[in-house]
């Protein structure tokens, strides 16, 4: 999918549209063609984490910022759903959409403060925010269930679909894959939009962009909010699939995993973190079946990828396609 970010208005090319349609069909096809429920479940979980990593990747690509606290945005909507649903104040669908909107709004407001700083300082701030959410999740027992977690008492129907659609691996694979395709489309269109152009320019030289007459704080905060919103969409799917959320969901190690996925895939193209998530997930499963030291092997793999392919799988793909100019964040991916 391509859009002209300089001509005012999106232009979607036919080959791009066909590629996107083909990608969107992969998940549903897998749901029908893969007979193993276990594999379907793994694919569903990998797809959810791919959406998480995609959100982290948007922040790296567009803002050049690395977050160590995005798990907060992954788990927050789940906690909102779990806390508000029993009150019966509004339809469950509205609570889900409200949870997403609240997360994005919170990220925007937090972003207005923290995107002013760069590099390590920004990373530490996101870590602090993430751990603050984790502490809240563990200590507010009445609301969150503390360390025991919170079971979500979901209704029998959601968005007109039976609840089992969201909790059986095969059907949930279709749902999560379609959401992933939608989020990828959003990420592509954003990157190719004039707003995406502006955020890339700010990433490269914020002062220079200010000299051109732009105020740069709000665009950076909005990109942070978009990144959180995409992550939150993954979190909502996680909550629906498991009907459960626990503090581990918002722990910094979950943020670290998503970051590893994004780096493994490379953030210089929107599809990179998605590819990284699937690689990470299945590498973890494959190695984990042989040894309990799977994390060490993942760590070594990450070192190798970072040294040999600093731009991740996207960089490898670009190397295999000579003459293809790597768009954007070569220095951040």
């Amino acid at each position: 999918m391509e859009a002209d970010r300089t001509g005012g208005g999106a232009v979607v090319t036919v080959p791009g549209l066909l590629l996107f349609a083909g990608f969107a069909l992969v998940g549903p096809a897998a749901a029908f063609l893969v007979p193993s429920t276990l594999i379907q479940s793994l694919l569903t979980q990998a797809t959810i984490y791919a959406i998480f990593a995609l959100g982290v990747g948007i922040l790296i690509r567009q803002n050049g910022m690395v977050s160590f606290g995005h798990a907060a945005f992954f788990g927050l909507p789940a906690y909102v759903i779990g806390a508000v649903l029993p009150l019966g104040l509004m339809p469950p669908e509205l609570i889900i959409i409200g949870g997403l909107a609240a997360t994005a709004l919170m990220a925007f407001l937090v972003g207005l403060v923290i995107v002013r700083v760069h590099g390590i300082a920004f990373g530490m701030l996101t870590l602090a925010i993430g751990q603050a959410v984790y502490e809240a999740a563990t200590r507010l027992r009445g609301l969150t269930g503390g360390h025991d977690g919170l079971s979500l008492d979901l209704p029998r129907f959601l968005f007109g679909l039976p609840l089992k659609t969201f909790q059986q691996p095969g059907s949930m694979l279709i749902v999560t894959w379609l959401v992933l395709a939608l989020m990828l489309a959003v990420a592509f269109l954003f990157a190719k939009s004039r707003y995406g152009l502006l955020s890339e320019a700010i990433r490269d030289n914020e002062e220079r962009v200010r000299f051109l007459g732009y105020r740069t704080l709000v665009p950076r905060a909005l990109t942070f909010a978009l990144s959180a919103l995409v992550t939150a969409a993954g979190g909502v799917l996680f909550a629906l699939y498991n009907a459960f959320v626990s503090p581990e969901t918002v722990h910094w190690t979950a943020s670290g995993s998503a970051l590893i996925m994004a780096i493994l895939g490379g953030a210089s193209a929107p599809w990179g973190p998605v590819a990284g998530a699937f690689t990470y997930f299945f590498l973890k499963e494959a190695v984990g079946s042989f040894t309990t030291h799977w994390l060490s092997i993942i760590g070594v793999s990450l070192i190798v990828v970072t040294v040999v392919f600093p731009a991740g799988l996207v960089g490898l793909f670009d190397r295999l396609r000579p003459g293809n100019r790597s768009q954007g964040a070569a220095n951040v991916g």
Binding site: R5, E200, A201, D204, R210, F211, L212, Q327, G328
Partner: protein, 232 residues
């Protein structure tokens, strides 16, 4: 005060160091003004003061006739003053076309569009999809000027635009700046290259040790005299 940009007894600098000492000058609509001086006399500090980079200790800066107390990086651009900074400031990961598009931040209506810039500099049209930093030095300067024009400025400020360019490229730039001036765009040229100043500017101010030590009209002054002033 009917001016696009005016400095009135400006004292500015960095940290606690004062670089400019009581600098005053005025640029009226349509005028071409040059600020001359050797390296380190405070020429770029004058631009940086307007851009809110240098600290304003005393004096006043007027933009479009208004006394501006809070100078932010984007203040001048939004008021119709486009700046081609020293070193050109091409955004590295963007194409030529994308760099140009970003020049239109203030959404000011006027003569300059992408097509007009491509007419002015056909080489930019030919290389529209190349990375901005893949251009030669001269082409990058064209891109920087083109991007500034995309803002449809009333005043175009150029900080050392001839730096590192071949004489033939400087000649072409002088021709373009003359045409812009003839079309009514005011120009502030921060320069050491006297040939360029002579060809473009109507009025000059010579800076030495952060003070204006000489000023006048270029038509009444020879290059040799200018050189003498700068050497003071």
């Amino acid at each position: 005060m009917n001016s696009l940009l005016a400095f009135e007894n400006v004292e500015s600098g960095y940290g606690n160091a004062r670089i400019l000492h009581g600098v005053s000058f005025v640029i009226a609509p349509g005028e071409s003004v040059a600020i001359l001086g050797r390296n380190g006399v405070g020429k770029s500090t004058a631009v940086n003061t307007m851009l809110g980079i240098a600290r304003l200790f005393a004096g006043d800066v007027y933009i479009q006739g208004r006394r501006t107390t809070s100078l932010r990086h984007y203040t001048a651009a939004r008021a119709g003053i486009a700046v081609v900074v020293q070193g050109r400031g091409i955004l590295p990961n963007l194409t030529v076309r994308e760099n140009l598009i970003l020049g239109g931040a203030a959404n000011r209506r006027g003569h300059w569009t992408l097509e007009r810039v491509f007419e002015l500099y056909p080489v930019l049209a030919e290389r529209a999809n190349s990375a901005g930093t893949a251009l030669s030095g001269g082409q990058q300067q064209m891109l920087a000027i083109g991007r500034a024009l995309m803002a449809n400025p009333d005043l175009l400020v150029l900080d050392e635009p001839s730096e590192g360019l071949a004489p033939v490229i400087i000649d072409e730039m002088a021709e373009v700046l003359r045409r812009l001036s003839a079309d009514g765009t005011a120009i502030l040229l921060i320069e050491q290259n006297l040939t360029l100043v002579e060809r473009v500017a109507d009025i000059f101010h010579v800076l030495s040790k952060g003070r204006v030590v000489e000023h006048g009209r270029t038509e009444h002054t020879s290059a040799a005299d200018l050189q003498k002033h700068i050497a003071i």
